[in-house]
Point group: D2
Chain length 428, copies 4
């Protein structure tokens, strides 16, 4: 493709919707990517601390997945197979059962929803309502679950909710996530106090839906005790537990599922983003086998069988999750990230470390400063974004496979960008 | 993969949700596909009159798309790019503008929603509500628009709606599609009579959402006059026109868009299914430029940039839609289909031809008979399914590129299956 | 009270809400009323063709009811008794059973809802949903059922609905009333066509709610065949039949209930307005005994026992409904009304007679003309109002007991007012 | 009425809905009432500590109101006047302005809603949504606001909510009332924490609706600081303050309005129950003049002008609220009540005093015990009921005018009943 085309971005203004967003902060035209690096059409190199918002946990174009996918396509393997039986789906299910479910003692069914996270969330709340005969679903402050009407009703962000244009976002009660009411308020007590009161006006819930680590919400981490508390409250009030593990799953938290360390047994778990391993659209809903009361096609979707994604997902599982080695690597990298973010935080008065595992960041106190830091980082070749209710957290979602040297290089850029942004602010 | 694995399907019972459906009617394990043919792991050949529910309009593994995709992957092109600028997205937009929009005089923006049809529908109704400040949306009997809560609220099918488990499917008024009240009732008059009455109790609508040919609903065809009538009513009552062209678009109706021949100018058009050309997840919402009031990221989604799909979609557009040749082929094939289905219909008392273009079928009078025909066809090597409110229509969605000989071969199977099913019924 | 107070109405502007309405069209300060006559503080006499919107079917201050009420109060009978047993409630129930239910072969329970029509309607739809386990309720174009959120969701009028300020008016499907789609469209067929289609998107209804004669909606009369058709459709689709007889009941239609002549057996009937006979707040919901599944206090209300109303209601029932004499009088008056309105209609090109029984009027073609007629009538001493979706119907709701001479006097005023309004329009 | 009729209550089983409730606990047939005493048909005397649930604050059949009402009726004053101007309405408004609004510096309009509390609540939330353009309304745990769908959506009680039969009770966020989360949790902080978070998922509210003393909810008292805190939060977040003063108003709290002592300026105040003074159906919504944006008849209701109630309400205002004497009496009686309830509480381990003013009670720890106490009290001639989420509070709502000797007599019965119930429990 000629270079001049890449430099003329008027086609986007003319023909792509104003809803586009990342290309505004990171306007390069990206041409190639490998591992944790992106390369623009002009040949500029960027370190990728965004990784498709945690969709590229194994980096770009993992060579094993790539080889398997090219082979599949070359051999006229099916691309689109609805929910037919295919060798690729079968192999994926077997790998998933053997390497993910069985070692964790999990008896779940895999529901191939439409291949987007929001679709898995929609399927989850529909099923919870079917199973319990209740309509209300409890979601949490700062939760992010998607943009379709059902998932959006669970999502906290006011600007995203405004996109509904006044359509009803009902049948949901929003409760405080751990820490959301300040350090002194026990949110479990608040929730118990409300649900335990038969005159609270809050209808008995079908389910609690939560993210163990709130990715969009600002890297808020639920403690093990809190997760267990939610599970206990759910059992007490006859509700199901749905873990939305779309962003924090697939190793991002340090283990395959982000809830593992709490020892809870969610009734359903949503997966998407890095499930395919390669960045391909793929989502699934794990359902405890006894709750899988779906009738055939009662929830369906044209792209629910993305065979290309089955191919790469199977490779990802077999390559990274057949034993404990990868998890051990993640533990080491997690320590390194905390240490690196501490360097950043030390530059900023009042900054706080956020997140855990490979999903860490720093609350720099304001969205303005966080934005300035990320903008300067981009100029120096680092793609990194903010999160949080006020965009106040600088968040690292680098591929889990990022070599230490590249991580270090990225953090050096981040430190420099932070210093620059602080100096500019001081000068203003 | 060893043959014995393929023969043991217990993994599906054990680990895949009961929501799976097509694999129940078509239990083969499919290994390979080319053009209009599917091959099972055992080497059995099937003619594909389903084509991923119209997601494979150009057949399986089109060689040009396949080559471009393999090249893209081999060169470490991005798989997942959020909504970054990429050369592939740019090339897709340019091709779409040059070959689809410009020749039709259409000034639209392309919104890359999540890569599923239901997501494009959700984005459309959200935007319609934002633009108009109204909440009510008019949808139509037998309409099918998706399974997420917003799209499901538009969908007619009671069984699908039941999947919501009692969650609210509100803010929608369901009106009769053309012909839905029998031949004597002018549904435009019914709609006008209701909306024109300030005491009808039906709130002023933000939009009308309809499919020019109802794919799931039984191949009900809106006449040009009816489509123009809907556009006229929408203008009269200040509502937008949203065409859901997910199943009938991309040439399926005989032209690129199914509404072209009516000469209407929808405010929004949803596309998915065959948009990628290769069966990859990809959806888009076309929005009249002046209505594109989305704020950045107000509706977003992790997989909204499926770069692999941009690659194949561009090839599809340039290969099939750069001139009128393909459309001329479709016209010829459409005639052939009508004639072939007439042979089927002639076997069955009271049978009626349905659909148009490459989206035709026959209403055989009962879901039982239609199901029996399709089951027998499958045994003879033809994959074909039913549609309609009572599954009473045998529907052909063969790839648009299916060679005449294979079409003929498929219909011979269908005729034989029909005769067999009728004989069995007569014997019972 | 001194005359000058009566003439200074600034207190209303200063202290009564802008929601007040009748006093704007009829600004006299009324001091006294008897039978069908109102007298202002200044001593002006008005003939009352409004009768509290059919709340004063037996005229103002019926001497027998008045005597009974004064006696009750003088003897320290209870005014407010919640739902205690009182002699007055018991006597009312016995009179109602003996004179209303038993002669008509009706086995119903009387639910004392809050003493307003809208409350009876709310109770009815709540119970229908409880009994059927369904949420959707079918209401009809031009229906009027009240202003509280549940009843308002059933009400057709867009301006009234706008009063909800955007609060959700959901769980209702609005269907066309008989004739609402013009003379050529069989609305029963439309309704059957929609409900009989399992892919219509219209959820199975808990109930049909309709007024046999739509009072606010423009005196639209349901034929016996249509009412029976609705009952048949309800049985066919497992829905209850709720007749809202608030305005058309208590003799207004010519018989005690307005649905009697159709021979239908509604599952519930709402009553209010003239139920007390004296204009006192009183409403009740009749429920087929086998459907009365309310738990104690599940629907309650402070004023559900208006003992004063029990006293007057009992007198009304015993005085007017112990035999057929009153009904015979109504039949005669009904003929007289038709004839009188025909005189009015004959003055106006295109005018149409509306209504039946003692609930008749004339559609004069425009709200402007109807308003001008009523305004002129008021100047001449006749209180009469408009109804209809566009206020195009001049409606007579004179007390059922109005002497023929006063009826004639009223119509003479109305004729004069009509001529005047027409002359003014011609001159403009 | 013959005694034998009164003794046969089969008419109720046969013809009154199962929704009836008080007559089950207090099955006497009441024939006469004066002041704080009820007399059955058999001549049994009961002390009335229920007073129509606070609808009879001035006792039964106050002689001045009675005389005025009998005179009005005898002179053919209007009973039913829609919202016409009448001398009685004018006199009421003038008395209300002079004695209630003006001395308190309140510039409000009086909206005559339908004559039930629930209707005033419905009007309030409709207007709040109209004024703010927002849909969400904040209500509080243990709040009780009525049974029609809008008011029921605000009501906390799960059993009452169940009466909706699954109809949507949406557009409301239920927040904890003061103390509802235990003594350690500052509910204002919880509310502020949720509303102040732009990612809480709780849409910006149109209004806060609360009862300064929760009558049905268990006599929970909002402190002055909490009421001011709610007003401050409302102003901070652009919401209106609606005080539901239906049960606690008209002197019940010790002052005319229950919120007076907090010094807040609600945007709207609902009144009903004792507004007429005589137990007649009458409700009103006070609206700050600048917020009274209702269009004529945008919210209406047949019985919105209950002229009989205007007559008695005017007398009540002029008799009790023209100076401070009555309020001083109430202060003295309030002290007496606290002291009397302390005697009761002292008998029961863990009992807690509840309420304030003339709306006090004792939380006896269980609904079972509270029920047993009230049942025994009734046998001894005292009508008194429970309240609270679990019916655990014995509540006194004696007329405000109850002579000290009768109050004492009632409490002696209550003490005896308490001792009896405790003894029975101990014996069990």
């Amino acid at each position: 493709m000629p270079r001049d085309m890449a430099q003329d971005t008027s086609i986007y203004d003319r023909r792509e919707s104003g809803a586009r967003s990342y290309c505004r902060a990171f306007p390069a035209s990206f041409a190639r990517a490998q591992g944790s690096e992106l390369f623009s059409a002009e040949g500029d190199r960027y370190i990728d601390f965004l990784a498709g918002c945690s969709s590229l946990n194994y980096g770009h174009n993992d060579p094993d997945m790539k080889a398997a996918l090219v082979k599949h396509i070359s051999q006229d393997g099916l691309a689109h197979a609805l929910d037919f039986h295919t060798e690729e789906k079968e192999a994926f299910l077997r790998a998933y059962e053997a390497n993910i479910l069985a070692p964790r003692g999990m008896d779940y069914r895999v529901m191939m929803t439409g291949p987007t996270g929001t679709n898995a969330v929609e399927a989850a709340i529909k099923l919870a309502r079917k199973v319990t005969g209740r309509r209300n679903v409890v979601a949490f402050t700062n939760g992010f679950h998607g943009m379709t009407m059902g998932a959006l009703s669970l999502t906290g962000n006011a600007s995203k909710r405004g996109g509904a244009g006044g359509g009803s976002l009902n049948d949901v009660t929003h409760m405080p996530f751990e820490g959301a009411l300040g350090p002194d308020v026990d949110t479990l007590q608040v929730i118990d106090g409300l649900l335990g009161n038969p005159s609270s006006g809050i209808d008995a819930p079908a389910a609690f839906v939560f993210e163990p680590i709130q990715g969009e919400g600002g890297l808020n981490v639920a403690s093990n005790a809190w997760m267990r508390g939610i599970e206990t409250l759910a059992r007490k009030y006859g509700a199901l537990v749905i873990v939305d593990d779309i962003q924090a799953g697939c190793g991002r938290s340090g283990s395959y599922f982000s809830f593992e360390r709490a020892g809870i047994k969610p009734d359903m778990v949503t997966q998407a983003k890095s499930l395919s391993g390669f960045g391909l659209p793929f989502a699934a809903l794990l359902i405890k086998s006894e709750l899988d009361v779906w009738k055939p096609a009662e929830h369906n979707g044209t792209f629910r069988g993305n065979t290309h994604a089955f191919v790469t997902a199977r490779v990802a599982i077999e390559k990274f999750w057949a034993d404990d080695a990868f998890e051990a690597e993640l533990a080491a990298k997690s320590v390194m990230l905390t240490s690196a973010f501490k360097e950043v935080a030390d530059l900023i008065e009042g900054a706080r470390l956020k997140g855990r595992g490979l999903m860490q960041g720093v609350d720099v106190g304001s969205g303005e400063l966080a934005g300035a830091i990320c903008a300067r980082a981009y100029e120096k070749g680092l793609v990194i974004e903010t999160s949080g209710a006020r965009d106040e957290v600088v968040k690292c979602l680098a591929p889990l496979t990022t070599p230490d040297a590249i991580l270090r290089e990225g953090f050096d850029i981040l430190l420099e960008a932070t210093r620059g942004a602080l100096a500019e602010r001081a000068a203003a």
